[in-house]
């Protein structure tokens, strides 16, 4: 992304952000609450079209993509939202199959059922799929949001606080699945307050404060940095 700023009303959420996300790498965005981490993640995923600057996906400006190009890009990504963001008016089955139908509108029902069975099996999800998301707990909704994000086997995985709301018994399994995505060579961009997990996953970090990038680089570069501001960040967030 090049010189990206994101303004809501009169408030500047992100200011002059430039960064390159490498294919097959895991980048973790770190910063205090309200610093714009989720906004940066969504801008990166092309979910906020009204921004200043440019977000480039394989060299192509996302804001200038036509509908087909935009759809093609989004079909290659999966997004785990912080609050799940499941479609409340649809059944769980429809929540899971809609992304597949967008990719393959003429897919057979049998094949669709097969994909659904395989996907829910990833997290041992056993709740009935004919119910609405409101019937699930916050943790279950989050797990289901993860399943929706991976149902199309995306190349790029965005995750916003993947482990919050989820009970301990499931957190381990979810982390294991995210680790597996990394091992498969997926590109991962994420936010997490679980610093042990962040250290384990991260190939590189973006340190964000007040909507600006304070520092960005590989894990080694960030950890070895002598910049006093970066050291404070490392002490406050990464090593604590």
């Amino acid at each position: 992304m090049e010189q990206v700023s994101y303004i809501v009303g009169r408030e500047s959420i992100l200011t002059d952000i430039s960064h390159v996300f490498r294919r097959g790498r895991t980048t973790i965005i770190i910063g205090p609450s309200g610093c714009g981490k989720s906004s940066l993640l969504k801008v990166t995923a092309g979910l906020y079209p009204n921004i200043e600057g440019r977000v480039l996906f394989e060299g192509q400006d996302v804001s200038r993509m036509n509908e087909k190009e935009y759809q093609h890009m989004q079909r290659r990504t999966g997004f785990l939202f912080q609050d799940g963001a499941l479609w409340a008016n649809m059944s769980l089955y429809d929540n899971l199959t809609l992304p597949v139908l967008v990719t393959a509108p003429h897919i057979s029902r049998a094949r669709l059922d097969e994909i659904v069975a395989r996907t829910v099996g990833v997290m041992n999800f056993t709740e009935p799929l004919d119910q609405r998301p409101a019937a699930l707990s916050a943790g279950e909704r989050k797990i289901f949001s993860f399943l929706r994000a991976i149902v199309t086997d995306p190349e790029i995985f965005f995750m916003d606080e993947p482990t919050t709301f989820i009970d301990r018994s499931k957190v381990g399994l979810l982390k294991e699945k995210i680790r597996a995505l990394k091992e498969e060579g997926k590109t991962i961009v994420g936010i997490t307050h679980d610093m042990d997990f962040a250290r384990e996953l991260a190939d590189s970090y973006i340190l964000l404060s007040g909507g600006r990038i304070i520092a960005a680089g590989s894990s080694e570069e960030i950890m070895d940095s002598r910049d006093p501001v970066v050291r404070v960040f490392i002490n406050d967030f990464i090593q604590n």
Binding site: V8, G9, K42, A45, G46, L47, E67, Y70, Q71, H72, M73, Q74, R75, T77, G78, F79, F81, D83, A85, L86, W87, A88, N89, L98, P99, L101, V102, T103, P105, R148, A149, T152, F158
Partner: protein, 257 residues
């Protein structure tokens, strides 16, 4: 002062341009709806059901009441004026051309328009719109187009229903109060009705349906971050829809005079 007025005018112009852009996009997407989106069909059916079927009882009650009052009062007053046949013309103009489309539009605005704005606004707040975008679906196409088609279709059907109840059902109510031969009533009605009455009623219900759907969706999608924006946008959407329908009504009346 001048600067403030200028800023206000600029802001209003920008908002108006944005609304026009939204309207044009929605219309363009509507043309591609059937061929592109089998996944939006369920939303369309639900919208027609919610807007149309669930409003039937209210519409029936109002149209019966209005029609019955017109017949009873007309039967009392018009013979005194020496022109009892004027009743049919009054019935057609008031029920079919004016009150049918307008009252139906107001009921749909209050019931379905407000519900659409609230629902879409809440979906923005809960990030469901972003979830649509994340799987490559334009939320305006996915959610706006079925609502536009659904509300417009329901508006046209409810207007026909209002006219039927207003013109025929109300006869039965009036008949109990002061007996009146049905054949005479029907002949008088058909003789006075012309094609322009039917066209006018249809055009109005079609245009009002589009206005209500576009305004309700626009305000729903305009919700930004806070839950408190939802009721504000809903109130604005109701006000704008009613004003829009009245302005359109005046324009259509003038054009078809």
């Amino acid at each position: 002062m001048v600067t403030a007025v200028g800023r206000w005018a600029r802001l209003k112009f920008a908002e108006f341009s944005e609304a026009i852009g939204f309207f044009l996009f929605l219309i363009k997407e509507t043309f591609f709806f059937i061929q592109k989106r089998r996944i939006g069909l369920r939303v369309l059916i639900m919208q027609i059901f919610f807007t149309g079927v669930e409003a039937l009882s209210v519409i029936a009650l109002i149209s019966l009441g209005v029609g019955a009052v017109l017949i009873v009062q007309g039967n009392n007053i018009l013979p005194l004026l020496g022109n009892p046949d004027l009743l049919y013309q009054i019935l057609i103009v008031v029920i079919m051309r004016e009150m049918g489309p307008l009252v139906t539009a107001f009921i749909i605005t209050a019931r379905s328009g407000s519900a659409i704005t609230t629902e879409l606004g809440n979906m923005v707040i809960s990030h469901e719109m972003e979830a649509y975008m994340s799987v490559g679906i334009n939320p305006i196409s996915q959610l706006g187009v079925p609502r536009l088609i659904g509300v417009t279709t329901a508006m046209i059907l409810l207007n026909v229903y209002f006219n039927l109840f207003g013109l025929l059902g109300s006869y039965m109510v009036a008949h109990f109060i002061s007996p009146f031969p049905f054949r005479e009533y029907m002949t008088g009605l058909v003789m006075q009705m012309n094609i322009l009455d039917v066209i006018s009623s249809f055009i109005k219900s079609f245009v009002f349906g589009i206005i209500i759907a576009v305004v309700s969706c626009y305000h729903g999608f305009k919700v930004n971050l806070a839950v408190t924006e939802v009721p504000v946008r809903t109130i604005r959407s109701i006000g704008t829809s009613i004003v829009g329908c009245i302005i359109a009504d005046v324009i259509i009346i003038t054009a078809l005079r």
